[in-house]
């Protein structure tokens, strides 16, 4: 097996960005760190700096004020990078569709690799989405 690919699959570091979400998704993401779910089992760690990350995990519908900041953060993540739209606000705007200050989903701003629906998605859904993302990566 390609050793570089193997290493990528085994060590997805996550950078969490809140682009105007309601907090529900953010705490569910943090809940995935806690002993009950413990995503560090898969080598996933939450990093504080986008430069250290592989997966940009974005929650919340993108508000107008934050859009440019979000793009800049996206540029700071070194290649290869993956974007995970976490929660329904990030997937499509969710309940905030048809509001004047939102972009209705992060795929309007940056390309997305994995959509995780749920409002908020359960911690198991993060693990599930990560597994799906990594499986796709492994097979590519």
């Amino acid at each position: 097996m390609d050793i570089v690919k193997w290493s990528r699959v085994k060590s997805p570091w996550v950078f969490h960005f809140n682009a105007g979400g309601c907090n529900g998704c953010d705490i569910e993401l943090l809940a995935a760190l806690n002993p009950k779910f413990d995503i560090e089992r898969f080598g996933m760690i939450l990093r504080g700096s986008p430069r250290h990350a592989d997966v940009l995990l974005c929650t919340g519908t993108v508000t107008r004020q934050i859009r440019d900041r979000f793009k800049r953060i996206y540029d700071q993540v070194p290649e290869p990078k993956f974007v995970m739209a976490f929660g329904n606000c990030a997937c499509s705007g969710g309940v905030f569709q048809k509001c004047y200050n939102v972009h209705e989903g992060i795929d309007k701003v940056v390309p997305v690799n994995m959509y995780v629906p749920g409002c908020p998605p359960r911690p198991q859904a993060i693990i599930d989405a990560a597994v799906k993302l990594l499986t796709a990566l492994q097979q590519s």
């Binding site: 309601c22 529900g24 004020q65 900041r69 200050n101």
Partner: protein, 391 residues
């Protein structure tokens, strides 16, 4: 001012803030000189959206103003619309609402204790409190069907009844939780590194707290006895006995202690409500159109007072719906808390008001001392700060 002063931007993305928010902080060396708040990173235009949605749809929109105090917002909304309609929900629904609201307070305060631990680098506390918090979330899921956004309330009652089996499980969970909370109440103040970081940090004097209209645990930690559950009782709080926890410390440590105290009170309320849960229907039928009226409803969310103002116009959509989430009220007092403190105390002081920025916005530290320009650094935050400052 010496050359040693410089700029540290914190926010809109910062590990200490799980949500985007911006405060402009002017520092001199390690001391904070001035603080200015800039909100709006999570401004989504929700209030306008209420006007285009029916009252039922509004129930779920209001829940998503804040994912942590979802129940408080929804309860406030339901109270408000019921007030507009002039109906009262059945007593059993009142009790179920109280139970869920208190469960939410327990989960929110446990969450906060963990986050506060995380802010000062004590991840073990974070891990343990969040592990125990999972129990509350499981109970919530059992009782309402979802872990975080519960969708418990309907206009005119609640959507799901509590079965005896659920009640048993909640009681069992509460007993376990009580032990754990007792353990944390003992362990956290005993940890000297924590107390070193918390005592005397982020002082908010009682008079300032009143003047700046702080709310919730932040206010109560300054020794002011103000709690909406007592001051303006709603649901089943009018007959539920409980104490308002206050502390005269006025600092971060006091806010910790107030929250820990409230955890015990919440468990007490839960016990009372479960014991006295009346039987009967859980929901009354309500008309779709709401006659013209106006109403103010207030709820004590885990973070403080949550006030909604509603105005109806006879149709199935509100004329105007205004939401003021608790965190916004506390932002006004943040500058006072931070001024004169250490930069390193910033995260914990901010965490101490338990900010929930989706309700309200990010942090940047600007230095007035150093004129030197930071040419072309790619830092995402600084440009923004410059812009805000330029205004």
């Amino acid at each position: 001012m010496s050359d040693s002063t410089f700029t540290i931007p914190i926010g809109p993305q910062h590990p200490a803030l799980k949500e985007p928010e911006h405060i402009t902080v002017t520092i001199d060396g390690e001391y904070v000189v001035d603080v200015k708040v800039r909100l709006g990173y999570v401004h989504r235009g929700g209030e306008k959206a209420f006007e285009a949605r029916t009252y039922t749809q509004g129930l779920y929109l209001v829940e998503r103003i804040c994912g942590i105090c979802a129940m408080a917002h929804q309860l406030c909304y339901a109270n408000n619309v019921e007030g507009l309609l002039g109906i009262t929900p059945p007593r059993r629904a009142d009790f179920i609402r109280t139970i869920i609201a208190e469960l939410e307070r327990v989960h929110s305060h446990l969450l906060w204790v963990g986050i506060a631990g995380h802010e000062i680098g004590w991840d073990t506390l974070f891990m343990y409190t969040w592990r125990d918090r999972e129990l509350v979330l499981d109970l919530m899921e059992l009782a309402t069907g979802n872990r975080v956004t519960h969708a418990t309330n309907a206009i005119g009652g609640v959507r799901r009844d509590l079965t005896p089996d659920m009640i048993n499980q909640i009681l069992k969970g509460m007993r376990h939780l009580e032990e754990r909370v007792k353990y944390y109440a003992k362990a956290v103040p005993a940890e000297r590194t924590v107390m070193k970081r918390a005592v005397g940090v982020g002082i908010l004097k009682p008079q300032e707290a009143v003047d700046l209209c702080a709310v919730g645990p932040t206010l109560r930690a300054s020794g002011i006895k103000r709690d909406i559950r007592k001051d303006d009782p709603y649901s089943a709080y009018d007959e539920t006995p409980f104490d308002i926890i206050t502390n005269d410390g006025c600092d971060v440590a006091a806010r910790v202690l107030v929250r820990v105290g409230e955890l015990f009170e919440s468990l007490k309320i839960l016990d009372y409500c479960i014991e006295h849960l009346p039987s009967g229907p859980i929901r009354v039928r309500v008309p779709i159109n709401v006659p013209p009226a106006e109403n103010v409803s207030i709820v004590e969310a885990p973070r403080g007072e949550d006030i909604h103002y509603g105005k109806s116009n006879g149709t199935d959509k509100p004329e105007r719906y205004k939401v003021r989430a608790p965190t916004l009220a506390n932002w006004a007092s943040v500058p006072t808390m931070l001024k004169g403190g250490y930069v390193a105390d910033l995260p914990i002081t901010l965490a101490a008001i338990d900010p929930c920025m989706s309700c309200t916005d990010r942090i940047a530290i600007i230095d007035i001392g150093k004129r030197k320009k930071w040419v072309g650094s790619t830092d995402q935050l600084r440009r923004h700060i410059k812009k805000c400052h330029g205004k």
